[in-house]
Symmetry: C2
DNA sequence: TTGTAGGCGTTATCAC
DNA sequence: GTGATAACGCCTACAA
């Protein structure tokens, strides 16, 4: 309750000595198109608006128009640089179409995730982009999804697997590239390959876990469960996981790390252990975050085109908003292995199978 | 224009066989407090709402109530991890008071900065937190600030220097800590100290540039302008700047890097040059981003309490919203040097002054 | 070329 | 206990 209330269209109309409608026309720039307004009046209105510091109320406009020209984007973890790129892609695409982007992160405060999500769905946005982990089969996620369907809020999912539902999806998984990564390690002589599987909830990143197992099996290498370390999604988790992995009786000669953030922790742990990468041990991770190529050593990592992911999702969402009845669409984007420095020849064959 | 329009309070009222007002009471939980509603009616309304998938329209509510229960936060560069911590602090504090946070970044698309900012000011939010670079004396920033004053939109600035204006401010600068950092380097025997000054616009980070010069002068060391490299704010900029700095005829034995993101680039450049940190060259940077202590070597860096910064700003903002007439407040938060591994003794005195 | 009036979905005030 | 009714600020036929 500011002392002086903010000016409304009516105030401007009053000051300019015209009707409220005229102000609306002028503000919305309908001046010389459908509605003819004399230049003199137009200027007078503009001047009055300027003088009063009038600025249209987006809420009232949204209420009247039935749309907010804003898109919501829910990111699993804003602290993972990987996601910014998707945000950036979405941002660009949204802006190009005159939409704003409302950014929310689940992980910032996991317990609030649902709440944030519901708020966004209260028509604060015209559509929603959901990334990854939120939409997994969690306890409440399903319920919310059903709610949303009822509300006819356009939704696009960015996911790592096809889901048999009626939402548009942009799908990009690490499956094929994981086989590539494993092939690379095999070809470098590695046989004992660890996996640091650091995820926020179980059953995430299955596009990395499964191919890891399969690749080993195809090579006739038995999966050693002690080589798979499950942990949380932070750098510290990656650090601790690596420490514990290397303390094993028969440690791996290479580690697959579920993402680059964890790999940063892993690199630090290896250094603390006096191990040199890739001479003593190899590392392959995922996401190709911007700093991956500045680390020492530069990370060999699997890359999605994260920016494009955001762009595609936004395009899909915009199309759906425009035509809610169009058939649901699934867009698949590739990933690829980026070979840099962190993976090298296995140090010796003593440990190999 | 979805095929089926989303249900409104009126629909619920109709289905439940009550009036619209009653629905509002039930939804807002005023049931057994001020307004008595029979339990039977309450349940019937709730059931009808559930059945229809009714969800209140935030815009209409905002229009009626005159507030959105949302706070805007404009961050200079969402890709700098330093800022997430402030975001997190703000988030926590906002949520605790039942507010949402709308996050925007300037740098994502610098040219849209003003636009984003204006959208937020259209009463999509009840208040705004502005961080650093946006509010600097740029061409348009002043104009916008004046606009805002007129609109009575509560604003809090997070800045590195006191500004003689009527906005609440949370101020935290690196000035004192820079003297500390320079003292550390001096005590380690460094005399030729470079500065990588990578900022998005000129006249930013003066709280680091000025004390750098002053500390040198106090020690009777002439400032060598060739040791100050100005560059942009990205990792690549830090990389290139370091390369060019070390190619000087008489390169420094220590480098002060304007922030940790640039320091990551610097570390990489030094490695490419075959230099070992801190044996051959020392590095001190700023911000203490989460990965600073996982890098190899761990970064000696100057730290603000970034989370607290966000919390304080939000508290200030919330207080201002509650009481727009209260006197404007300036909160000062300290910074401090965090000594880790990247700074060590000067390699030799040959280069010293 | 400009003005009038109705309604978007909500909440609050007041009768019943 | 519950139901009309009047705003909130805006947009847009339609009338003048």
């Amino acid at each position: 309750m500011p002392k002086t209330k903010r000016p409304t269209q009516a105030d401007v109309a009053c000051l300019a000595g015209v009707s409220r409608a005229t102000v609306s026309y002028v503000i919305n720039g309908l001046a010389n198109t459908r509605i003819p307004i004399s230049e003199e009046t137009r200027l007078r209105v503009l001047e009055a608006a300027r003088q009063l510091g009038y600025v249209p109320d987006a809420n009232a406009r949204a209420l009247r128009l039935g749309n907010t020209k804003a898109l919501g984007l829910i990111v699993p973890d804003i602290r993972n640089p990987h996601f910014w790129e998707t945000v950036e892609g979405a941002w660009r695409e949204a802006r190009a179409s005159g939409y704003h982007l409302l950014l929310s992160s689940m992980d910032l405060n996991a317990e609030y995730g649902k709440e944030v999500f519901e708020d966004l769905s209260h028509r604060r946005v015209d559509g929603l982009i959901l990334m990854g982990s939120f939409i997994e089969q969690s306890d409440e996620a399903k319920e919310i999804t059903i709610q949303l369907r009822k509300q006819h809020l356009p939704i696009v999912e960015i996911s790592d697997h096809f889901r048999e539902n009626h939402a548009d999806q942009v799908i990009s998984d690490y499956r094929e590239a994981t086989f590539e990564a494993m092939e690379l390690l095999f070809s470098l002589g590695h046989r004992r390959i660890g996996l640091i599987y650091g995820v926020a909830r179980p059953d995430l990143a299955l596009d990395r876990l499964h191919p890891y197992r399969e690749a080993l099996e195809v090579r006739g290498i038995e999966v050693d469960e002690s080589l798979i370390v499950r942990c949380g999604p932070t750098m510290e988790d990656g650090y601790q996981a690596t420490l514990s992995l290397m303390k094993e009786k028969d440690p791996p000669t290479a580690i697959l790390v579920i993402n680059d953030v964890l790999a940063i922790g892993a690199l630090r742990a290896l250094a603390d252990l006096g191990l040199v990468v890739p001479q003593n041990i190899s590392l392959v991770s995922y996401d190709d975050i911007p700093q991956a190529k500045y680390l020492v050593p530069r990370l060999t990592t699997v890359s999605k085109n994260a920016v494009l992911l955001g762009q595609e999702a936004t395009r899909l969402l915009l199309r759906r908003i425009q035509d809610p009845e169009r058939p649901c669409e699934k867009v698949v984007l590739p990933s690829r292995l980026v070979v840099r420095e962190s993976a090298g020849p296995a140090p010796s064959r003593q440990n190999s199978f």
